[in-house]
């Protein structure tokens, strides 16, 4: 490095650290950090529940937990991880922090609404945690009727209210992003000069805004049915539980894309930076995000092939499911083509990119097994499904999230973390993840059903392997919290652009000033113009 990087005197946190400066802040960067803290807490909690699940499944006879406790445990794991970690993770933390920086704006279009979103998240999270911790919830995160409406004895109504409230946090975040991306771009920042991270968040925001209200009304109907004995889904009165499943998956399948699209946006940023090469097929990657958002709304019933559905509609949904794989494949091919003849470096974020590529590939291809009408009958509700969606959500979404945290950590905090520890834990997470979930593909294929607290003896070896992997994975997740926090106090100043990356966010100081840019940036070049970028990190 040519010159010593310095830590700026004036940045968005220099205004103060008192409680008021956080709880009443309208700065998107501070709100991003509030989200980072709150979703990290949720991640730890959801992870503890995952540990309990794996602990119970160490033994085949279910002696560690009663069936009821086990049901409540996997429900808590699912509800926390889906609604309170995965869905907000990248958008609410990094999208919040980065989108205004990336498009050269002072803030999101609606800063107060952004703060309100965080409060709704906390309120919804608090209510749901109360439901989960005091008495518990045994319906699974899917709340299938009539079990949830008629038979469940637990806190369904309370959890429903919590998820309803948190849903509006997600909707308002999406609304804020859409308006910001449309109306707040800096001069010269045309649509096709936007970073692919922003395109991915635009597609995500569309799903958040159009999908989330459907689960909100659905979960509200479940609550009304429980509280006022309305009969929306009650088979005794002619109500149709399958209708609930349609409405539920109309959101909850697109929700998978809320989790994975932002992660794909992260991969696009990282892979081009660490290949020192302009991203291959920019407009294809951008448009495939929109294609995923659009087609993603048309595949929901592939979760219901065995629920009772006309064979012709099943065929249509199966075909559409194959169709949605195409834009994902386009992205993957373009990423690989970006690597080709690139000058690849193995910094921590890039290791997460490679983790993502391999795991997402496996997760995506096994998804086709499940979208296929014939094989799905064999695999439905087995551990194969569990393994598949963990390859997408953990292998895809969380790898992208961790890659993003490591890539933009120097920007957010102005400090560098230990590269050696970063690489070590990335590798540990990769190994632990595969050890946890690959055996589950085999278990599922052999016929082990999900959501049972007991299983036949012959499945024990693979289950023990899986639990061992989960232990490694747990340690892998633990390390970053130590070395990242350590870097806050002892890390070297990062300088404005430690990676030599392109993009407006790297042109301002690290951490950025409250107004993001001292002067409104004017964009004059195409994105990812790495051919002209110096290899040395720029120091400002």
């Amino acid at each position: 490095m040519s010159a010593e990087a310095t830590y700026p005197k004036d940045h968005f946190l220099s205004g103060g650290w008192d409680l008021k400066s956080w709880l009443l802040t309208k700065d998107h960067k501070r709100i991003g950090i509030l989200y980072l803290l709150s979703i990290s807490a949720m991640f730890v909690l959801g992870g503890l529940y995952a540990g309990l699940i794996r602990w119970n499944l160490l033994v085949p006879d279910g002696t560690h937990m009663s069936a009821d406790t086990y049901n409540k445990t996997f429900t808590a794991h699912g509800v926390i991880m889906v609604f309170f970690f995965l869905i907000p993770s990248i958008p609410a933390v990094l999208g919040n922090f980065l989108i205004p920086l990336m498009i050269g704006a002072k803030d999101l279009a609606f800063p107060k609404l952004n703060l309100l979103s965080w409060y709704l998240y906390m309120l919804g999270g608090g209510i749901t945690l109360y439901a989960l911790l005091v008495g518990g919830l045994e319906t699974g995160w899917t709340f299938y009727t009539p079990y949830s409406t008629v038979f469940a004895q637990s806190n369904v109504e309370i959890a429903a209210v919590g998820i309803f409230v948190a849903g509006f946090s997600s909707i308002l975040t999406g609304l804020n992003f859409i308006v910001t991306i449309h109306k707040m771009r800096a001069p010269g920042m045309t649509w096709f000069r936007m970073p692919l991270f922003v395109w991915a968040h635009y597609a995500t925001a569309i799903i958040q805004v159009l999908g989330t209200p459907v689960i909100a009304i659905t979960i509200l109907l479940v609550a009304l049915e429980r509280i006022f004995h309305f009969g929306f889904f009650d088979p005794a009165r002619g109500g149709d539980p399958i209708l609930f499943q349609h409405l539920f998956w109309f959101y909850s399948h697109p929700a998978v894309y809320i989790m994975i699209l932002p992660s794909m946006g992260v991969i696009s940023e990282l892979i081009t930076c660490f290949s020192r090469k302009r991203v291959f097929g920019y407009s294809f990657i951008a448009m495939s995000s929109l294609a995923i958002a659009a087609i993603g709304f048309l595949v929901w019933a592939h979760h219901m092939f065995v629920s009772g559905m006309a064979v012709y509609s099943a065929m249509v949904f199966s075909a559409l499911t194959y169709l949605v794989a195409i834009p994902s494949a386009i992205k993957t091919f373009n990423w690989v083509a970006t690597l080709y003849k690139g000058s690849i470096s193995w910094d921590t974020p890039m290791i997460y990119v490679f983790c993502f590529l391999g795991l997402f590939l496996i997760g995506g291809l096994t998804g086709l097994f499940l979208g296929n009408l014939g094989t799905d009958v064999h695999l439905t509700d087995t551990y194969f499904v569990v393994a598949h969606f963990h390859y997408i959500m953990v292998g895809g979404a969380i790898m992208g999230y961790l890659g993003a945290i490591h890539f933009w950590w120097p920007k957010i905090t102005g400090r560098k973390y230990s590269e050696a520890w970063g690489r070590l834990s990335a590798v540990l997470i990769f190994v632990g993840f595969n050890l946890t979930f690959f055996p589950q593909f085999v278990l599922g294929y052999l016929g082990m059903p999900r959501r049972y607290h007991v299983y036949p003896d012959e499945f024990q070896v693979l289950n023990v392997l899986s639990t061992a992997g989960a232990t490694v994975l747990g340690f892998g997740y633990l390390f970053p919290s130590f070395y990242l926090v350590y870097s806050l106090f002892r890390g070297e100043p990062a300088g404005a652009n430690p990676w030599g990356a392109k993009g407006l966010e790297w042109t301002t100081t690290s951490p950025p000033p409250t107004e993001n840019f001292h002067e409104v940036p004017v964009v004059t070049e195409e994105p990812y113009d790495y051919a002209r970028a110096p290899k040395e990190a720029a120091v400002v």
Binding site: A105, K106, D107, L108, A109, F110, P111, I171, L175, N176, I178, V179, T180, H182, K183, M184, V209, L210, G211, T212, P213, V214, A216, I217, T218, L221, L224, E225, F228, H229, F230, G231, F232, D234, A236, R237, G238, G239, D240, L243, H246, L247, F250, V520
Partner: protein, 232 residues
């Protein structure tokens, strides 16, 4: 549009360059919000479509039990409130403060009339369900539901409960949107009275207008779907 005059307008928020950008942003924001509202109600409309095609007889019987005359009168009241709202937005755009306040208050009045009528409509269906019975004429879904009042028996009584679940769910959610809208309109009327708005800056009036029209349009769909099934 000159930037110099609007760049320092007191209503301009710091993240925007000028009032024009701010106005475009907040207007788009409201349209996006309305889009999510369409999907929010959309879940109920989907459920309605499914059950009406499954149980046409029970839906028809349930619908005949509602008074289409009251529903129609209330529809006129609500359309009237949309007119007064449109007038308020118009006068805000040309800066006639007193008329803005007047028409906003007229909108609140008409909206309250609508809700008052709804109160009595609900009351007729809920009152028989209270007390110790015999619950004749009770039309709230649940144990006390009186299918005989609709001349239905057996499974069709259950189907009629679904109709009334949807009736209360859909009109209730619609009424809730009005109950949220009215205090907001009152707040904006208050600010308008204090001279907060001008021809350059009156986005809040326009936005609450958009919201109110949206809520009215929902009712325009609810009225025929719930009140006019099988009416000739």
């Amino acid at each position: 549009m000159s930037e110099t005059t609007t760049a320092h307008h007191p209503a301009l928020q710091h993240q925007f360059t000028d009032l024009r950008q701010q106005k475009e942003a907040v207007t788009l924001g409201m349209w996006v919000f309305i889009a999510q509202e369409v999907l929010f109600f959309g879940g109920l409309f989907a459920a309605y479509a499914v059950y009406r095609s499954m149980y046409p007889a029970a839906f028809s019987a349930g619908s005949h039990h509602l008074s289409w005359k009251i529903g129609f009168a209330n529809t006129l009241v609500l359309i009237g409130s949309s007119l007064t709202m449109a007038m308020a937005v118009h006068f805000a755009a040309i800066g006639m403060k007193r008329r803005v306040v007047g028409f906003l208050l007229a909108t609140v009045l008409l909206g309250s009339v609508f809700l008052g009528v709804k109160y009595f409509e609900y009351g007729d269906k809920i009152r028989p369900c209270l007390g110790d019975g015999p619950y004749t004429g009770c039309l709230v879904p649940g144990e006390r539901f009186d299918a005989a009042a609709l001349h239905l028996e057996g499974a069709e009584g259950g189907h009629a409960q679904i109709y009334f679940s949807l009736y209360f769910g859909m009109t209730g959610l619609h009424a809730l949107h009005m109950i949220i809208g009215i205090p907001i309109i009152l707040g904006i009327a208050f600010l308008a009275g204090r001279g907060a708005y001008s021809p350059e800056y009156h986005s809040p009036v326009e936005l609450v207008g958009l919201y109110w029209h949206f809520v009215d349009i929902i009712w325009i769909f609810l009225f025929p779907l719930l009140y006019l099934i099988g009416a000739h």
